[in-house]
Symmetry: D2
Subunit: 435 residues, 4 copies
């Protein structure tokens, strides 16, 4: 058994204080919390966004923040205090390191998981109802990585701090309204979610018996709640196999795949790159088992549509709307005049094989910007396919449910913010001439 780490010990001692009369400044284990509540995502008539519908109010809120930025730390404290006081039955979860950093600035107990990443992943998955991120796109990618081994990711509410990112939907100052919208979503008949299926909402969500948390809040906030709208971002499923065809699992120090085995999920992309080796990489690419080509290049990107505005964009890929069920294959600096980026259905398998022509060296594998280069040697195969949106009776159980920020003024509830992001953030088709 692995030695207990300092932070875990702190947490254990906190646990021992249970009988104490004052709960504040405590760090508790996330395992003490009730299991997560699985929300439904209802299709709506007029657009491709889904309506978030909690069967009962969310209870376990997981805050993830950007590291080493004091202003973000202050924000997460302010935010969690607000949630604690306005929604008293919610519990606040933080990453282990963050819990240690901030728990004594909070007047209520905080929950955390093990410091060890794999264990944390196992502990968090069954508990988290809602993830809140404060930071940039990197923070959201990090949050996604903590759920990279599960199909059922809790909804993510993300706030950009400082520079606005492309994935982060909300501005921090909107946090009260945003949280309320998510918390109340699906709480009652007033929801304006025009449903595709005319089935009775009441029944499906426990007719009539609106939870007391919701009813009490109803009174407080005037007006009806608008349901939170969700963009289901599909991920990649990535499996790594050695030349003998065996799945490469993580050793204690590696992080190629979670201990649990199986595929890892990527929100943006998986990349094979020459890394610091100044020589070209050689990668064989197969689509549905058929050899497409042998790429001689700096690297190869397999990206989700979400990732089409990340590395793939820099490498010349097209911009793909996140709801196009597809995989992008974009080369990085290919040594060819005729390697055009490809887009295939997300149902097709793409395999990257590290060619024997790489003169003995391995290549670098990274997922969502994090290097995972344990064992990516010659002959190694990376198997990639798109996560399939599985929808049974309106319950989608895949993808990353990202809460979309509405443009209230216009009432254009179908607006998924994508066009706005292209113009505002990417300076898409920025016109010539003096500003």
């Amino acid at each position: 058994m692995r030695p207990i780490q300092p932070r875990i010990r702190l947490f254990l001692s906190a646990k021992r204080q249970f009988s104490c009369s004052h709960h504040r400044r405590e760090i508790r284990s996330v395992s003490e919390l009730p299991d997560r509540i699985i929300p439904r995502y209802q299709e709506s008539l007029h657009n491709d966004l889904l309506c978030l519908q909690w069967p009962s109010p969310p209870r376990n809120v997981f805050f993830i923040k950007k590291e080493n930025v004091p202003a973000v730390t202050d924000a997460v404290i302010e935010f969690s205090k607000h949630v604690h006081s306005s929604y008293p039955s919610t519990a606040m979860i933080f990453e282990n390191k963050v819990a240690s950093e901030i728990h004594d600035r909070l007047p209520f107990p905080v929950y955390t998981s093990a410091a060890d990443r794999d264990t944390a992943t196992l502990e968090l998955q069954p508990k988290v109802d809602l993830t809140v991120t404060l930071g940039g796109d990197g923070t959201i990618l990090h949050a996604a990585s903590l759920f990279s081994a599960t199909n059922s990711v809790p909804p993510v509410l993300s706030f950009s701090m400082g520079t606005l990112g492309f994935l982060g939907e909300w501005k921090y100052h909107e946090y009260k309204r945003a949280f309320r919208e998510v918390y109340m979503s699906g709480s009652g008949p007033g929801d304006r979610c025009a449903q595709l299926t005319p089935e009775k909402m009441d029944e499906s969500s426990g007719a009539g018996s609106v939870s007391p948390e919701w009813s009490s809040l109803r009174g407080k906030f005037m007006g009806e709640a608008r349901p939170a709208r969700v963009l289901l971002r599909n991920r990649l499923k990535v499996g790594v196999f050695d030349s003998a065809g065996h799945r490469i699992n993580a050793s204690s120090d590696g992080n190629l795949a979670p201990k649990i085995g199986g595929d890892i999920h990527a929100m943006n992309e998986v990349i094979i790159h020459r890394g610091q080796d100044p020589h070209l990489a050689v990668v064989e690419i197969f689509i549905c088992g058929r050899l497409l080509t042998e790429a001689v290049a700096d690297g190869i990107i397999i990206s989700t549509p979400t990732g089409s505005t990340a590395y793939s964009l820099s490498s010349g890929g097209s911009i793909i709307h996140p709801l196009v069920p597809s995989l992008l294959l974009t080369p990085i600096c290919p040594r060819s005049l005729s390697f055009r980026p490809l887009v295939v259905p997300s149902s097709m398998n793409i395999t990257l094989r590290i060619s024997d022509k790489n003169r003995g060296r391995g290549l670098e594998l990274s997922v969502d910007g994090v290097r995972r280069n344990h064992g990516v040697d010659i002959g190694t195969e990376i198997h990639v396919r798109g996560e399939q949106l599985r929808c049974r009776d309106g319950v989608f159980t895949s993808g990353i449910p990202s809460i979309v920020r509405g443009t209230h003024s216009t009432g254009a509830t179908g607006d998924d913010g994508w066009v706005g992001g292209l113009n505002g953030l990417l300076k898409f088709n920025y016109p010539f001439g003096e500003a």
Copy 2:
């Protein structure tokens, strides 16, 4: 009423000869034929291709050929003679001009429609069971254009003559095998189409009662028939509206929209272009009603995935597999450093509006390479959205069902030929170095 054109007259006189004893060299009206047989397209387990299933054998075969190439004319004669003799209950349909050109070289009556394009369209749609094209991609596009006003396009079997095209699947010398495969498809229990839904095939296709045409052929050809595999190519739906919001219909001389009104369908793309005007075009682009950008460019392409290897490719667009349900927006020579091609879900509407900044002139509109520039003035709006694949009980009623050529040797029945086309035809990622 419009005057009867020479060719129509020929046809009318042919009609009068009905009582004659010898039927050969006749030209008859397609309207005399029985109504078309609607096939089913069955999903299969292992791939994204569909299995063609005729409830009973096809009867009305429509041959379309490239113009002005004697070798192609010879081929269409040879081909139709073969069909006539091997599948005696089939009728051969040709375009009006072609019927006049070749009927006296054929020992059986041929069928045709009116010379007038709009009338032809109306006459052909309810009759054609199967379209066979001989020529290049342009011939297929032309065939598609004849069904551009209907949702339910008959399956297309296309042979490349001379230079191999990207859309044309079959080589001419395979015509006997290809036709037989299509004709027999779905004829019996031997079909190797692993079905997704375990429902009894027999029932759905009229249990037990295999049609006599099929049974007699069964004997002749040894071995079981492999079902024809179909790639359902989604089209664009294009509507043109004047600045007052009225749909622009075709006048007698124009061809903006079929007389029947409603949208036209495009297999490759719809394009707005500056044409011969040496000045830049200005086009406003809206996605789902929201202004994306004002494009200053040579033109704008809205393309299907099928069209991604056509004009869009030349303009820098990515290559999209035909089964990704999407629309491509690719600029032609945009006056901006930051106009990257976009790909959106096929369910989203894209509107192109001819901006007032075009200094009074109109722009050129073309659909699948054919100019349709009647009335594309300032303020005109082109509304485009993707055809939605509609599937009810295994009957898809949209898209262009294109018969895919199999690679028999490998038995890889899931191979849709796309990867092969990239390598063989587009010279995708063609390696450096002396051949």
Copy 3:
């Protein structure tokens, strides 16, 4: 002989009024003016710009303005009035149409050329000392086209009106300073032009004998004059030959080449394009007589470095600094994955040949945005090579000498404004993130 056109007649009658006592509102012939003064362009030590050096003050100023914009007309009137009153020995030349439009708003006689373009060209070349343009890039291109048949183009001082262009250096409100800088350039020993060759300036410019116009102005303006800095923009030389190898000269109605015969010069580019024909153009490209490739495309651009930020940029070409002695070959929407833009030395000949594969139709030829499509049929050859900078004893006799706007504050006299234009106008590498 061609009939005298209305405007010419006006001009002739103006001529008859010579004996009249009041010269104002007159339109005189440019042929009455003294011959132009050829300036020298001196290389300087620290940068690639040249110093303009008049042997004696310029006298004949040619104003060219954008058409149909009242504000620009007002500006040209204000500007020419200023020049008339501050530099009394200068004469104002306008294009024929403009002269008619504005002469009665000016209190002094104006000069003009024939309305007929070819004749105008012949008349203007020997007379114009300095061209001043007011408008956009199109106005500068038009000015250049009037000198497209000569090697020795007078310096161009260009002001942008309204939207800032990439070629137009100066803002209109700077007109007084700009004109003075150009007028005085090379007038005396105070010039800060660090010369490469240490030869005595006094001798070369007529030692000691500073012209009276200059001396009188010296007193007026305090401080020493800074010499005007010149960017010599190299042009293309374009010859059009029929399939028999004969140079195609302009008929009376065409404008392929000036009547004078010989090559025409292009400032931006020469383009072969499919025009309104929806089918691909086929063009054979030769470099130094050797077949490079057969291009199947919308068109082909041969551009100067100056034109690299015009159409070539939209077609994917790199941005080339105007002083790189080169020609760009950029395809427009080529039907190939592997047609990368090329840059060759300006000394190399490029020939475009309209291929026989164009199915009988001709293609469109345009030079600097103006169509010149008389006779560009199958077999026609377009011969292009770069204008060679000829420099003998510091006298450059080629290129378009464009007066560059200095950044006075920084004193960076070597700054040619190119980097500023990339950032300010083209939004080069515009950063992501909310503005």
Copy 4:
């Protein structure tokens, strides 16, 4: 002082054997050889290639070969034997490691330099008359790197072994003819080099007194010698400075700059890259001291026109003919939609500064594919400018004089092989359709 390495020792002992009667299998020091003969490069009338003119026959031939390929080793032995027997007054020089490897397979003494790279560089520069490379482009780059600290590089005759490279002009089987052409070049009046300057060749090359080596060979080879044609490839000059502005010289273990100090020259390019760090690099780019932009990217390439077909091509740069005097600035995967490759005159300085925004880490610097990352930390500046072609009286003293392979059959002596390379090697504009 550094310990004598094994190979040097071998060489020293070889030296001691000088008095021995048999010279074979010896390894001697290159310093014993006579000083190199500086050839002239004469401009010719009809093209941009230069004519190589030896004042007297070359004596010291430096063979460089690809490592670890037995066939290449065999070739170099065969080749040097041929030179030894046919041109008896020549001496064969090899790299230290190669000399040890092959000297005992050669029946004559070989010359070499110190094993230490910096010392080797110092020893070779004053001695080598002609460099012969056998291998690929990498071998030529390596050869160039050995002369990267000098302006005056001896001519390079390069043979491709196996895969044909873009820089390597000759096929190995042509080695006899090729060597003879180079050896005899400028040997007499029969040279067909049409000279630009009509000065007497005889005088300049020592009138009348044709060297005995040449006269004896004249007899042997029938026919007149054609002069070798030279493509002068311009290089980059690269200086690396720390944030305090001090030039960073090489420590004993680094290789940033030769011990001799001063700039290093690059044949292809200099690159700043994020290397294995998965985060974007931030680099400030200055042109002529003016801030162009802050690049956020994988890296930045500053390339010669020669290097335009190397990494820059893969990163989207245009293809530039090697004789265009320019520098290319090509970004690698820039995080911007509007970073287009730039081309500036080779006389302009480009400075890359490692921005403070790189979060503390350094970046990777590489020159011609070799990493030289000692000290490329935040604040480090890379100063780059193009080597200026210096020509005084027909003696060019800069660039890499590369012997061009002629196409004898055509007699097109002006053909520099560039167009052929685009088509044959890069598959430029490779046409669609089945091969």
